[in-house]
Symmetry: C2
Subunit: 603 residues, 2 copies
Amino acid sequence: MGKKFVSERNLKFLLYEVFDAASLTQYPYYADHSRGMFDMVLGTAMRIGTNMLYPCLGEMDKIPPELVGDHVKVHPVVKTFMRECGEGGWISAIAPMERGGQQIPGIVNLVPNYIFAAANYSASVYLLLTTEAAHLIESFGSEEMRENYIPKMYSGEWQGTMALTEPQAGTSLADIAALAEPTSEGYYKIKGQKIFISASDHDGVENVVNLMLARIKGSPVGVRGISLFVVPKKRVGENGDLVFNDVNVTGLYHKLGYRGCPINQLSMGESDDCHGYLVGEPNKGLSYMFQMMNAARLAIGLGATAIASAAYYASLEYSQERLQGRRMTEKDPATPQVPIIDHADVKRMLLFQRAVVDGSLSLIAQCYKYGDLAIVLTGDEKEKYALLQDFLTPVAKSYPSEMSILSVSQGLQILGGYGYCDEFPLEQYYRDTRIHPIHEGTTGIQGITLLGRNITMKDGFAFRLFLEEVQETVRAADAIDELKPHARELEDDLEKLQEVTSHLLNIAREGNREVFLADATLYLELFGIITIAWQWLLQAVSVQKALKNKDALSESDLNFYEGKMYTFRYFFGYELPKTDGLMKRLLGTDGLTVEIKADFFSD
Amino acid sequence: MGKKFVSERNLKFLLYEVFDAASLTQYPYYADHSRGMFDMVLGTAMRIGTNMLYPCLGEMDKIPPELVGDHVKVHPVVKTFMRECGEGGWISAIAPMERGGQQIPGIVNLVPNYIFAAANYSASVYLLLTTEAAHLIESFGSEEMRENYIPKMYSGEWQGTMALTEPQAGTSLADIAALAEPTSEGYYKIKGQKIFISASDHDGVENVVNLMLARIKGSPVGVRGISLFVVPKKRVGENGDLVFNDVNVTGLYHKLGYRGCPINQLSMGESDDCHGYLVGEPNKGLSYMFQMMNAARLAIGLGATAIASAAYYASLEYSQERLQGRRMTEKDPATPQVPIIDHADVKRMLLFQRAVVDGSLSLIAQCYKYGDLAIVLTGDEKEKYALLQDFLTPVAKSYPSEMSILSVSQGLQILGGYGYCDEFPLEQYYRDTRIHPIHEGTTGIQGITLLGRNITMKDGFAFRLFLEEVQETVRAADAIDELKPHARELEDDLEKLQEVTSHLLNIAREGNREVFLADATLYLELFGIITIAWQWLLQAVSVQKALKNKDALSESDLNFYEGKMYTFRYFFGYELPKTDGLMKRLLGTDGLTVEIKADFFSD
């Protein structure tokens, strides 16, 4: 099993050279921090990832959570890790200081989350869900609610979850049916079924705080009648002790991967004694939940990238050690075999893996940076960055999710037969990462969000902001000889993207919404490739800046920058051309998939 | 769990309407057969697949083979199935009657193999390997060898295998080191290690006949010193009884999927008592083995397609039953939810799955038909069809193998969270089918075979034969109004393919073989898409012929043909455009992947 799962060098490159995270400390909100402190975050997270999480990766897969009686037993490291997260302040990292948080920039908080997910994706989810659930209570909950729940969540003693899906309402949240009946004591009586709820019961914590969508009796049908509730597994009883809140585990899913984290079926109110506490106002649950969902979507893009990173280093290590065959220029079969990294096709596969990993990570860092700027800036600037983050979220969720699968698969391929066997971690990464295009809104839903909502929101203002961001990078690259041709290529593609977008919006204007959105998934794919090309160009600009002082660079830095440039060229040479076929298809709208009748599939 | 795993209608369409298998009975070699008999083959195979194999699919995955002492225990159905295959004549189906076979055309024999693999891929491999190993002995073994082994293999009592890979020689067969020392008694003493040998030990049979590559002591290094041996697990002793032949199981792999079939490590000659029997002449082993390897490559393309077919029907069934969301034109959330097959994005995913399945199956049927014509014809015609089959084998292996993964993955996606859980078979198909780009020569090797060997073989004669075949279909389609635009599209792509090929051959001529072959995998991908487009056009010609008598068709036939036309249009609309990006890259040769140094990957 490999030893390396992330590149610290690349994290620092993105943090300091590309996105200048240290510059955030100029704003009062982040003024207590410094680059030295960011480095410490990285160093500590690497130690936890390496010493605590990575060693349990295979074990948590092979000995998955178990339903014992009506409770879920998980690997003992979960408890250790959650406490460590509490003590180390990882759960409260991005929360404001006035709420007991560390007020760390999102782009810096990306670092531990990425490292933990690369070391052990399943383990990282316990932390993420708790962070996000606490953040939701902090944003919209009452003062009492904050006091009751947040400290225990920050300490890692209580788990947070998001409880949305129901048997009849997966993607279609409008059909949520869980019921909340008001009582005279202020709480609501909850009754309903939830399915596919990650980490919603386990013995690594003392309690679970479900952030749950339900419908207050008498509310309107559809999304306008959904409210958000805190529904803990155990509620605080009259004399301050924890009493069972009638949240029952009715099932545990047996999954392809991501096995270290239990996904449960819950049944609330079987004994008519499940209390729920309304968050914010009635019927606004979905809009509150979108804060958590959008955060989760970025986190999923990050998790997918992290698994792809671990897979990259595992196959890189194998390719350096495995001797097989000879260079094509070597005709003498008596000469020794070479490491397979000497074969061009293996290098191509490695470049693909790295192009996906570093490109995706850059985009996600970009999104967190936007979020940080939206916090510290005001007025139009605040709106601009908040919009940019919102606009790009479906891309930052889906490109990494879809491409992680392909890049892990290429990593597995590098190992040949061994990649298919559990002696090496590739087969687990391949199973683990398949979850990402599914949870927190499938790729299909992300496509519809991008094309059907984000492109047109505020009359296309967010889209124009995005185009300006890319154009700014194009201009910077255009001023550097080595990057000029690539800047032109991206500019061309950006124009064609606008052409495709106009073409589709015209169809929408003609009133045919189904045809307009029929290929939204392909549009998302196209958008993703162009967005990642932008991020590669942005990275290349930083690399060229660093290479100006070539002589002052260490050999390892020089190798790092050379590697970046090759991977950048790989992306433009091998990945960006894929937009040609996508654009051809998107411009050739014919309503094929809308038109075909269900009966035509049957034989 | 779904019930349908293949389309009998589509098998008949390919056999009778597209490839006119019945016409083969006009040749004396196949004259004993008839369409009625082919139908019987299909019917019987469906019964075995449905009643015997499909019900064990999940169980064989969940209770995989086990190493008990030094023997491998497999699911009891393996023994039942092997005997059924013996009694039903499935193992000897394509063998000549004079050797005890049924002399069935390869294109017809595709039917049971496809059905068995779709019902239960792991189970189908026991049959396939035995068929192919017996065929190899029959082609190159001595009369005595045939008598000793073939009857027991045909009866399903003895298992056949191919034993090539060694720890230091996977893809690089030139490095095979297993040793064969001649003895005065005619046999050779064998010593060596083999790894990743499918079905090479199990309790479903009485004996295992390994077709093994080894090096006769003193032979030249490299591929010119490799010989082929029969190395049975038990040899026939002096008084006719079976005695242990010192073939030891030293390990059993734990695999991602394809778990119903054991893959073993073998150690031959640990007690210096392993007898091997030379097949044919010394040092010609690799060329003999290529017969079996090429047959196995087609079979793998078929197996990959079969799994994709089973996945298609599983997700189709789900999409028809699962209610979720509403048509986009429906604004009232109080209306009932619709089956998800009503959503365009789901129909797009289903069309992709079917496009891969039906397109791949058509290409494989085409290859088997070429093989059949090569048997019955003579002279130039014989050579033509043998060459065409040989030429297309890497494409028929790789396109289905690579695309099965993507199409099963889309199938899984259709089921959302359920696709990720083992209540439904998609997650198993996803794991099972990942083996195909690895075994019997990775996709990388197939690319090098196509571009580095097949394109130039006989001075490009095979490539020209291929182009003529496609052009013939283009001409037929060009005469049909509905197909004219698609015929033109394929013609354009065929021209561009020749341009790309010339460009690459020029690089080869300049002497840079590494750069020439650096993107052979992409060339293979390009070639695959164009080849499958050809097969779709060929199918569309047959559909249009059938639709001429529209009024005479049953509703189910009409739905079938309409579905075919939509899937054909899907392929040309969504898949064929992918060639644009590939061609751009292939024409932009820059040696990037040859040039980049191994050190540049490391950080």
